[in-house]
Structures are given as structure tokens and as C-alpha cells.
């Protein structure tokens, strides 16, 4: 555990300039192929474009709400890539890039925020990369992630030494969530049982309109140490730092070394949600400071420095546009779910009240059909 903050590999100008604290994570970068570096960029760019398209769709009345991820792509893509297929992810509700990396159909997030579902994707479906559901109550899912990790322990999937077997749980939350009792209890329970958890905090500086200084008088990465959970602070807009530090934390968790905590310093460039107006509480200068630290721009500079040319970036732009167009096309044809479905999964087992009320509603709806037909007759 180092007390030297902040782990960073890429300077703001996109030069490879590891901080002293980054050295111990450097070997993790050696694993990355050129193709994987390209993929980091590709996923960040695609999700940025997706996020912009979804914001537009909300403005056009296609969704009640959108939750922008703009600015946090570096923290999300790097950490998500660090997870192995057998790991499990418990997101908050802004982790669109993590969902993309883990393979969910991104339309499912649109369906959720459009009001078609409360969930959107099946975490038990292997094609969804063990990406569990979004959790809208701040911090609640940190305990679910801890309990899930207890289950992995009980299943004998921790500390066997077999990299194909050992698994961990990666849980995302934001700076506001650190004030929630559930997050503190997650630290307590995970430390107590030495569960294979990695808690990944995206400190985007603002909990809606409240700055992080209201949540904590000390850097948040220090918060977990009193609970016995080792921690690291990283530059969250450096996708390489996010990848390397998360990879090591997950390795440690899988090996049985217990829970780990990462604070990724980043910034929510856009609004908290499309219902929010950050001009009421934030200074332009602050936003400009962070725009200069944009994770995608920074990584593009780095890749160009490695010799990547216009053809690649043009190709990614086309792919991102196609991705957004596909989301738009499929959003426009989404239909509301059948009304009876609201009763279907309230319980797992037959329930007389659900049966009775579903039947009543069907008859009630049908009564309008009958009177309509009578009027026509």
C-alpha cells in the first residue's frame, strides 16, 4: 500500500510518463497488445458517441431521462478490461462503458431509462458478461457485491491459484455513495470475511450539485483504510492507470488477499442527468480544466505517438456513428411492454393476489373493447 497518490501513466499531453507510484503496476501494461490498446480507444469512442446519441434521444422525447457518462470513459473502460470473464460486475447506473466492454446490448440501458423495464438485461445470461443490474439507490449494491463475493468464497472460487477459476467481484460507485452507510457496511463485511471484492470509486467531483468536499474532508481513497481495506488513488482519466491498477487489485482479490479499494479521479463533463443543470452550481473554469484532461483525447495523442494514423481514427469514428445509428433505429421502434407483465415477476412462485389482479385488469381492459365494439355495431 503506497501513500503516494496518484497513479498515472499518461501525462495530460498523452506522453508515457509514469509517476513513481505507477511503477509497481507497470508490468501489467506489458500484457497489452497493440490491438488491445486500439480496443481501449475504440470502446471509449463508441461509448462517448452512444452517450451523445442517447442524450439527443432523450431531448427528442424518446426517454424520460438519460444519465451521461461523458468524461468517465477512461476510468470505466480501463477497469472493465482488467476483469476476467469469470469476474462479476456490480455497476451503479452510469457505467455504460463497462456494460459495453462486458458485452451487453446497449439498447437495454435505453429501455431501462425509457421506462420500458426496471432492469433491462439478464445478468445470468452468459452473453452479458456477468454484468449485474443497475442500482438506482446510491450505494445499496455495494452490499450485494459483498454478499456475492461471499458466495464465490463458499463455492471455492477464490485463492485456488488457477487463473481460469479464481474470481472476484468488481463494484462501481461514485463519490456521493461513499457517504452512504451501506458502503461503509460493505467495507466492514468484506474486510471481516476477506471477500474477493474490488470497490471502484469514480470520484467525478460532484454528487448532483454537491461537491466532493461536502462528502469528505480527506481524500476518499483514505476512507477504506480504517476498515482494513487497502486502497490506491489513480488518475481516472488515464485508461492505462485504470487498467493496470484494477488488474492488480483483482488479482489480489482473486488470490484471497481480501477486498481492495480504488479511487479514480475523474470528472462528469455533462450533467448528472438530463434533468440537471450544472450551470447553476459549477464554474466554467473547472469544466475547462477537466476538458483538457479528457481521457479520449489524451489516449488518442498517446496512440498517435505510437504511430497510429488517421485511417484508424476515421475507422473508429465510422464505427461509433454506425453504433449510434443502430441504437437510434432500434429505440424508435420500441413499444411499451404488455400491461399484464407488471404482475408476472413480482414473485417467483404463484401468488393469489397477482393472479387475481392481473385477471381483473384484463377484464377491465376488455370491457372497453366490448363497449367500443357495441358502439361500432
Amino acid at each position: 500500500m503506497t501513500d503516494t497518490p496518484t497513479v498515472q501513466f499518461l501525462s495530460v499531453e498523452g506522453e508515457f510518463a509514469p509517476t513513481e507510484s505507477a511503477e509497481e503496476y507497470r508490468s501489467y501494461l506489458d500484457r497489452l497488445s497493440d490491438t488491445e490498446l486500439q480496443q481501449f480507444y475504440r470502446q471509449m469512442a463508441v461509448v462517448r458517441r452512444f452517450d451523445g446519441e442517447a442524450t439527443n434521444l432523450q431531448r427528442q422525447g424518446q426517454m424520460a431521462l438519460w444519465v451521461p457518462s461523458h468524461g468517465q470513459e477512461g476510468a470505466q473502460v480501463g477497469s472493465a478490461y482488467a476483469a476476467r470473464p469469470q469476474d462479476h460486475i456490480f455497476p451503479s447506473y452510469r457505467e455504460h462503458a463497462v456494460g459495453l466492454v462486458r458485452g451487453i446490448d446497449m439498447l437495454a440501458i435505453v429501455e431501462l431509462l425509457r421506462g420500458n423495464t426496471h432492469g433491462g438485461w439478464d445478468p445470468a445470461d452468459p452473453t452479458n458478461g456477468n454484468f449485474h443490474g443497475y442500482c438506482l439507490v446510491i450505494g445499496s449494491h455495494s452490499l450485494h457485491a459483498t454478499g456475492y463475493a461471499m458466495g464465490l468464497q463458499r463455492d471455492g472460487l477464490v485463492g485456488t491459484g488457477d487463473p481460469e477459476v479464481d474470481a472476484a467481484v468488481l463494484c462501481y460507485f461514485g463519490d456521493g455513495a461513499t457517504s452512504q452507510g451501506d458502503v461503509s457496511e460493505a467495507f466492514v463485511f468484506s474486510a471481516s470475511s476477506q471477500t474477493p471484492n474490488v470497490f471502484f470509486l469514480q470520484n467525478n467531483q460532484w454528487a448532483i450539485s454537491v461537491p466532493v468536499s461536502v462528502q469528505s474532508r480527506v481524500p476518499l481513497y483514505l476512507r477504506s483504510r480504517g476498515f482494513g481495506v487497502p486502497s490506491v488513488q489513480i488518475d481516472g482519466n488515464d485508461v492505462l492507470a485504470s487498467y493496470a491498477v484494477t488488474a492488480k487489485a483483482l488479482d489480489d482479490a482473486r488470490s484471497g488477499a481480501g477486498p481492495q479499494f480504488i479511487e479514480a479521479l475523474t470528472y462528469r463533463i455533462g450533467a448528472h442527468t438530463t434533468s440537471d443543470d450544472p450551470t447553476k452550481y459549477r464554474e466554467n473554469a473547472e469544466q475547462e480544466f477537466w476538458v483538457k484532461r479528457d481521457p479520449i483525447v489524451r489516449f488518442e495523442k498517446y496512440l498517435r505517438g505510437l504511430g497510429e494514423g488517421d485511417a484508424f481514427f476515421d475507422d473508429v469514428r465510422t464505427e461509433a456513428d454506425d453504433f449510434a445509428a443502430d441504437i437510434r433505429a432500434r429505440t424508435l421502434v420500441l413499444e411499451a411492454p404488455p400491461i399484464g407483465t407488471m404482475f408476472d415477476h413480482v414473485y417467483s412462485e404463484p401468488h393469489p393476489v397477482m393472479t387475481e389482479q392481473k385477471l381483473w385488469l384484463e377484464r377491465y381492459e376488455a370491457s372497453f373493447q366490448e363497449s367500443f365494439q357495441e358502439e361500432q355495431a
Binding site: 445478468p123 439507490v137 452490499l143 450485494h144 456475492y148 463455492d155
Partner: protein
């Protein structure tokens, strides 16, 4: 704190199912019947685990889990850190992983730090997931008065949970039901709030180990009668049985229904009984305002209006906080308070 060794696979070999206790019918207190029900569930299914505060070496503050940690191990009967939201939140994660956690909340009044996890998460996750996974979690809550305890130790919060879709809420009134309903609750793939009437932990009653479990949602006719129907759950059922004796001496024939399940409510037998007697009194320890009794009174009025010969009356705790213990017998309805209501409905 007993920790699970993080690097050792646990629950590898479930203990063999113990033979059914002999003799087949035994006089036992409810606390012991619950203990045997939990032991049976632990023996039958290696995915079942108990978790809570002081439930391991101590056996729980009411000793309901006494001996179970020694019998099944510290990884099956887990002493948790002292945090109700943490207990329930981690139980949810375990259920997502395929386990069947049984959580003990030490006292009724201590459940509130876990209320958000129960109502916003446990109750809703199956629905949120579109049925992709179940939430087979049981939350045991010792509840109710008559034990002379300090504040937060004698409350009846069941209505808060009955109001929440996605939960099943049950409460046994006899040792036999306690034994069987505990196993049914653990077998259920839905989350079950299991309210244990703590004033009934110690009186003995017959437990028939050769019997079979009634459906979890089924009510039970505790006494057959013809003039008035008395209805309750948990500890109040024994008060109704006392009232029925008093009424019988006065020439009033009382039918007693033990709800067993508070959500869902088994209305068939209730409506049948009210159709026969024409009179209903619903009794509970909880405050009457927006309560289980209110709900039943409303539904019976909707469904059996023309059978009723008198208004449905509620006998309940007052709409005050549970008072200091020296006043609890004033707050809690007794057989005389029930009889006052019986006399009123018989006056019609």
C-alpha cells in the same frame, strides 16, 4: 466474529439428514420447534445458511439457534458484524449466487436499518430482473410484546412489510406451525418475512414430526364456532382462544382463525367463516391505524357485505408508541378487550 476462511471451499459435504425425532409427537416450546425446523433445513440443503448477530456460539439472544453452529459449522451458522443493512444486503448477494440465507434480526425494533435493503432491494430484485433470478431469503424477526422489555424490543412491525409487494409475510402461533412453516419459508423461492411471536417462544405445544407442511399461505381454523369469527396471527391467537373459552361460558359460540400468512392473506376460509357467523373481530398487538386488521376489515366488507350482521371490529394496540413495559398489559389487547368487542358485535 467467526469468519469464513476465504481460501477454503465450504459446505462441501452436507451432514446427513438426521432421522426424524422420536417420539413422533413431542411437547416442545416454539423456540425449540424453530430450532429443529432450522436444523432440518440446514441438513436438507447445503445452500441454506443462517446469518445474524450472536446466533453462533451464543445461539441467539432467544437461543433459537442454540447448538446449530456446533452441529453445522461456523460457515453455515454465521455470526455477522452488527449491522442490519449489511446482514440483509449481503444475504441478497448470496441469494444471487444461489444460496438460501436465513437472517436473524435480533429484535423487531432493530429491523429499520435494514428496511431499505428489504423493501427497495430484496422485495423488488426479482421483478427488476424480469424473473431472471429468485430471492430465496428468509428474515426471522422475533416480535411483539408481553416480555417486559425496554424500548424497541416489543414492537409489531409486520404491516410495514405486508404493504410491500414482493415479500411474503408469515407468523406462526403454535410450535407445530413454527416447525413446519420455517421449513416451508426456507423452501420458498420468494423472500419471506418470518415473524416469531416471542411471547410464545416458551409455552409448550405438540409438534408432529410425522405430519406434512401445510401451504405457507394457508390459514388455520383454531376452533370451530357459529356466532362470531375471531381472527388473529401470532401471539394474539392464544388470546383469542382464551376469549373463546370465556365466550363459550357466556353461551357465545366462537370460531377462531389463525391467519398464519399475513401476505398473502388466505381469504377463502375467512369469507366462509364470516358467511356462517355474520360477525368478525380482528385482533392484533400492532397499532390499529393502517394495519393488517384494517386491511382485512376492508376486504371482508367488500366481499361479504350481505353476510355481515355487524360492523367488523378491530381490537388492536393503541396508536401510540409501544409504552414502557409497566404499561404493556394496558397497551396489548387481552381476552377482556377481545370480549368487549365480541359483546359489541353480538349486540347487533
Amino acid at each position: 466474529m467467526t469468519t469464513v476462511n476465504p481460501s477454503t471451499p465450504t459446505s462441501a459435504t452436507p451432514p446427513a439428514t438426521p432421522p426424524a425425532p422420536a417420539p413422533a409427537v413431542q411437547e416442545l416450546p416454539m423456540a425449540k420447534a424453530l430450532n429443529l425446523g432450522l436444523a432440518k433445513a440446514l441438513a436438507d440443503d447445503p445452500k441454506v445458511l443462517l446469518m445474524g448477530e450472536d446466533i453462533g456460539r451464543l445461539g441467539g439472544v432467544f437461543r433459537v439457534t442454540e447448538g446449530l453452529q456446533a452441529q453445522f459449522g461456523a460457515d453455515r451458522v454465521v455470526d455477522t458484524p452488527l449491522a442490519e443493512s449489511g446482514i440483509i444486503g449481503t444475504a441478497i448477494g448470496l441469494a444471487m449466487r444461489g444460496y438460501r440465507p436465513v437472517c436473524e434480526i435480533q429484535f423487531d425494533g432493530f429491523i429499520w436499518p435494514g428496511f431499505d435493503q428489504i423493501t427497495s432491494q430484496l422485495a423488488k430484485l426479482t421483478n427488476r430482473g424480469g424473473g431472471a433470478f429468485s430471492m430465496p431469503v428468509v428474515i426471522r424477526v422475533p416480535y411483539g410484546g408481553h416480555i417486559g422489555a425496554v424500548e424497541h424490543h416489543q414492537e409489531s412491525p409486520e404491516a410495514y412489510f405486508a404493504h410491500t409487494a414482493g415479500l411474503r409475510v408469515v407468523s406462526p402461533s403454535t410450535p407445530n406451525d413454527a416447525y413446519w412453516m420455517m421449513q416451508e419459508a426456507i423452501r420458498s423461492n420468494d423472500p419471506v418475512m418470518f415473524f416469531e411471536p416471542k411471547s410464545r417462544y416458551w409455552p409448550k405445544g405438540p409438534v408432529d414430526f410425522t405430519g406434512s407442511a401445510a401451504p405457507l399461505h394457508a390459514s388455520r381454523v383454531g376452533r370451530v364456532g357459529s356466532d362470531v369469527t375471531l381472527l388473529a396471527h401470532g401471539a394474539m391467537v392464544s388470546v383469542l382462544m382464551q376469549a373463546a373459552e370465556i365466550a363459550d361460558a357466556e353461551g357465545i359460540s366462537v370460531e377462531v382463525i389463525d391467519l398464519r400468512s399475513i401476505s398473502p392473506i388466505d381469504y377463502g376460509p375467512i369469507i366462509d367463516s364470516v358467511t356462517k357467523t355474520g360477525r368478525l373481530v380482528v385482533a392484533q398487538e400492532a397499532s390499529g391505524f393502517v394495519s393488517v386488521g384494517s386491511e382485512i376489515a376492508a376486504t371482508v366488507a367488500e366481499r361479504a357485505f350481505y353476510s355481515l350482521q355487524a360492523p367488523v371490529l378491530r381490537v388492536a394496540g393503541f396508536d401510540t408508541p409501544f409504552p414502557p413495559a409497566k404499561l404493556e398489559t394496558v397497551f396489548l389487547p387481552d381476552a377482556d378487550r377481545v370480549m368487549e368487542a365480541v359483546d359489541r358485535v353480538m349486540a347487533y
